[in-house]
């Protein structure tokens, strides 16, 4: 379907598609097998200005919107979710600075982020704080001109590889969610080290690691926004990034669909291509329809967010929820369409099925997304009375 992309948007989609086809597809199985961080691909992505897309021009970016960014995410996801997770997590880590950073912080960090010189990671999750983000135990105590950080962050995408970390820590535990603050912590700061590297079911090319803070002292000026605004920074960041996860869902579903449709055309049983069987056709028809519906929703919400809508929690949750549920279903069905071949590592769909599962879990489980939507519905109905 034609989504009437403008010239810039077409340029970005086509270039991301080319990078996906020429640089990602040939190595994705190997990256998955070895669990190897895709540094070469990240350098290619950076050199192509993909990390500059939604950074304002005054900080060395291209000054385009979130929609242009998710077009790139979708295309990379079509080839490999491990790569696109690395790319999207970089943007996720950047949002706190982009949305709430001071002029000084923006000038200091955004140009290096736009050029891809330094990768970024976002650190909220802890052993005791997953869906319940208020369970954060990491503390940041103001001592003179420094904050002293203590605690351990868990399952941090780009952990160990990124050089800039946006970290949520408690500055006042007694105030609960209002006692959290956001900080920038640079790699190599004394007291900041990396723990266990996770061995995952999917997105194995991406790095997932523990961040350990032991009396890690950072300058006071690394506080993002004001003390106590940490959860607002985190929630607004997630509001912005959810359409990106939705785009990942659309991309991986499209990749799985393309592989299975092609296979169904070439695979013969009972003397005829299996695509000629209605049972297979109906599966493919459902998959194609769901992908297009997901894409339409993700694109619409992304354009809505870029249009300057004030509260986008409900819509961005819908886009993330729907597109990632579609991704899971479509990748499972792609394996089914391909039968035994689909189950084998020789073909890409088993990896896509393993990869897709994370989309229903990270950046807010799909159950949490339904909570977000539900709470918005309650507010809306209250207003109607």
């Amino acid at each position: 379907m034609d989504y009437f992309l403008n010239e810039n948007q077409q340029i970005i989609r086509d270039l991301a598609r080319r990078i996906a086809d020429e640089r990602v597809m040939p190595v994705r199985a190997e990256l998955d097998e070895k669990g190897e961080f895709p540094w070469d691909i990240m350098r290619t992505i950076a050199q192509s200005d993909m990390m500059a897309i939604n950074i304002p021009t005054e900080y060395g970016g291209l000054g385009m919107g979130g929609f242009e960014f998710i077009l790139a995410v979708e295309e990379l996801s079509r080839a490999c979710l491990g790569v696109s997770t690395t790319f999207a997590a970089n943007a996720l880590g950047t949002y706190p600075i982009l949305l709430y950073g001071s002029e000084k912080q923006k000038k200091k960090y955004l140009p290096d982020i736009a050029s891809g010189k330094r990768l970024v990671a976002f650190a909220l999750t802890e052993a005791t704080a997953g869906s319940d983000a208020a369970g954060v135990q990491t503390t940041a105590k103001l001592e003179g001109n420094e904050y002293v950080l203590n605690g351990t962050k868990q399952w941090i995408t780009n952990g160990g590889e990124a050089e800039i970390y946006t970290v949520i820590a408690m500055t006042d535990k007694n105030r609960g969610a209002r006692g959290a603050s956001a900080f920038v912590v640079e790699k190599d700061t004394p007291g900041f080290s990396f723990g266990k590297k996770e061995d995952k079911l999917g997105i194995r090319a991406s790095s997932t690691r523990e961040l350990v803070f032991e009396n890690c002292r950072i300058p006071k000026e690394n506080l993002i926004a004001r003390q106590g605004m940490g959860f607002i920074v985190a929630m607004k960041t997630l509001d912005k990034s959810r359409t990106g996860v939705g785009a990942q869902g659309v991309g991986v579903a499209q990749g799985a669909f393309d592989a299975s449709a092609l296979y169904a055309k070439e695979r013969h049983q009972f003397g005829t291509p299996v695509i000629s069987f209605q049972a297979v056709q109906h599966m493919l028809a459902n998959m194609a329809t769901e992908i297009e519906a997901a894409r339409s929703l993700v694109y619409s919400v992304s354009r809505y967010v870029d249009g300057g809508a004030k509260d986008v929690s409900k819509e961005s949750a819908m886009a993330k929820l729907f597109a990632t549920d579609v991704a899971m279903k479509v990748t499972v069905d792609a394996v089914q369409v391909m039968g035994g071949s689909g189950y084998m590592k020789e073909y890409p769909v088993e990896k896509m099925m393993r990869d897709a599962k994370i989309l229903q879990i990270y950046e807010g489980t799909n159950q949490i997304q339904r909570n977000v939507i539900g709470q918005s519905l309650i507010k809306e109905t209250a207003k109607k009375k």
Partner: protein, 260 residues
């Protein structure tokens, strides 16, 4: 420092068909690409630009549609582009092409001229070195690595059958490069935006101070009489079996013909 990269727009040989009657390439409907070896030359130039102050001009001789190749080169990091295009250039062989390119390079000015080792359509590998001769500057062919570049000197590795030579030359110099030199980059978004709006300078015969008698068909000593695929007369034998059996019988065959 000024670098001129010579590129050629060629038919994508992955998609090419040969006219069985004339034995010539059927160019109609075949997508055009930048000659792959030239992409390595361009990449080398753009990498030098990242190290020092360099202006990279990309140059091609061809019909007006060759502008597409120049715009692609801009998207890959070239600063500006020159199209050598004139009816008088039509029918040039490698000699006339080299003469015309040399005249254009003299007009533009260059400290380093970079070319691919050969074009994948003609495969002569003559135009680079011949251009250096017309420019009366040294050339180093089959460059696989640029070791260092100074204001008046360059040091490179030249790929040989067994290993490589380290060659040093004064500037200006012309290099022809092999694919081992680098991995060409993807275009950048900024580069593509720039390539769409940038102006392509066109030079004709009057702009480059060329002698008309040395241009195009008139200036080409090569006359193509006939093009044909050479018939293979060598004896062929297919060796079958498992890997071990194949190795065994290959060794036997090689010994039989006294190769081993």
């Amino acid at each position: 420092m000024k670098i001129v990269v010579c590129i050629k727009q060629v038919p994508d040989t992955a998609e090419i068909k040969i006219n069985p009657e004339t034995n010539t390439l059927m160019r109609e409907g075949v997508p055009s690409i930048i000659n792959p070896f030239d992409l390595h030359a361009l990449e080398a130039a753009v990498r030098l630009k990242e190290q020092r102050t360099v202006r990279v001009t990309v140059l091609t001789m061809g019909p007006p549609q060759a502008e597409g190749a120049l715009r692609e080169a801009i998207s890959l990091g070239a600063d500006d582009a020159v199209l050598l295009s004139d009816r008088a250039f039509a029918g040039s062989d490698t000699w006339a092409t080299s003469y015309t390119l040399a005249k254009a390079i003299s007009t533009i000015g260059a400290d380093i001229v970079l070319c691919g080792k050969q074009a994948i359509d003609g495969d002569t590998a003559q135009v680079g070195p011949e251009t250096a001769e017309f420019l009366d500057i040294p050339h180093i062919s089959y460059v696989r690595k640029i070791e260092s570049v100074e204001d008046t000197m360059i040091k490179v590795q030249r790929l040989m059958d067994e290993g490589y030579d380290v060659v040093q030359s004064s500037l200006p110099v012309l290099l022809t490069v092999v694919k081992e030199l680098n991995i060409p980059r993807m275009p950048s978004i900024r580069g593509i935006l720039q390539s769409k709006k940038c102006e392509i300078r066109t030079l004709g015969k009057d702009d480059i101070n060329a002698d008309e008698n040395d241009l195009g068909l008139k200036g080409s000593p090569t006359q193509v009489k006939n093009i044909f695929a050479p018939e293979s007369t060598a004896e062929k034998k297919m060796i079958e079996g498992t890997a071990e059996e194949k190795v065994e019988s290959l060794l036997g065959e090689l010994k039989k013909i006294k190769c081993l």
